[in-house]
């Protein structure tokens, strides 16, 4: 991986986690650790979506949130089924843990908001989150995944999450 891409991947990881002290880079993760990060990232977005369904009354927000729950759940189910088939377990790691810390902070922030302020913050977070995760998956994970089936699933997942990013961009404009 070129230095330029590696630096941008580290920047993305910092943006996602808010933590500058990273001992390893995302490119150092193996397939099982990458699978764990993806699983955690999916679950974080599912959690954000449930928060949106609970706190927002905006139909566009609800429609988006329902899509996030549906799609990220489907991808996680496929990922777990594939790992079971490969007789492998997802492995916890520094990036999964940092994603969780970042998500707790963001959830606390969003929980304090209501009405248009919540809608705006949720939409903007979804756009930023998908941009960052897609960058991570596309530039750090996919090039380094060793197993062909896992790589294929991540490639398919990336296309879906890029559609999410485009949908989030539309949503940001709608709730302005």
């Amino acid at each position: 991986m070129s230095n330029k891409i590696q630096l941008s991947v580290i920047a993305v990881a910092i943006a996602l986690t808010g933590c500058a002290a990273i001992a390893k880079t995302p490119s150092d993760l193996n397939d099982q650790e990458i699978a764990h990060v993806a699983y955690v990232a999916d679950n974080i977005d599912i959690r954000y979506a449930h928060l949106a369904l609970a706190l927002s009354t905006n139909p566009a927000i609800h429609k988006f949130a329902e899509s996030m729950i549906r799609d990220h759940t489907a991808v996680n189910e496929q990922a777990l089924a594939l790992l079971k088939k490969l007789n492998a377990e997802p492995k916890d790691n520094f990036l999964s843990q940092q994603l969780m810390v970042g998500a707790r902070t963001k959830t606390d922030e969003l929980s304090k908001l209501r009405g248009p302020a919540f809608d705006k913050a949720y939409a903007e977070n979804e756009l930023a989150y998908h941009k960052a995760v897609n960058d991570l998956v596309g530039n750090a994970f996919i090039p380094n995944i060793e197993n062909a089936e896992v790589k294929s699933l991540f490639e398919a997942g990336l296309k879906i999450f890029q559609a999410h990013e485009a949908h989030a961009a539309m949503m940001v404009k709608q709730v302005r």
Partner: protein, 117 residues
Amino acid sequence: MSSYLRRGLLRTALLLVVGLPRQRIAAKTAAIRKPVEHQVRIAAASFHPEDLKIRAGDSVVWTNDDIVPHTATARDSSWGTGLLNAGQRKEVRFDSAGSVEYFCRLHPSMVATIQIL
């Protein structure tokens, strides 16, 4: 028989002789052009092909080969496949000529068109 009547009968007979094969040809042509079933594959968050040309009376079958659910829904809501889970398929027939844009209700950046000739 008057010459006028004779000419009329002759004219009628000629029409029958000349006209009938043309009718048979037209009937055969109509029989040859059967409605065609076109395939659209949904994969990688896209419709394949994105631009499809068909004839009035043809049908389109959408098959979801992706890993998440999708729909194919007319922009004016006049038709749709409903929710297609992974592996599911749905056929829609198009009887009127025109150009239609459709999209996935769940992933609105997924758009495609059908031209019905």
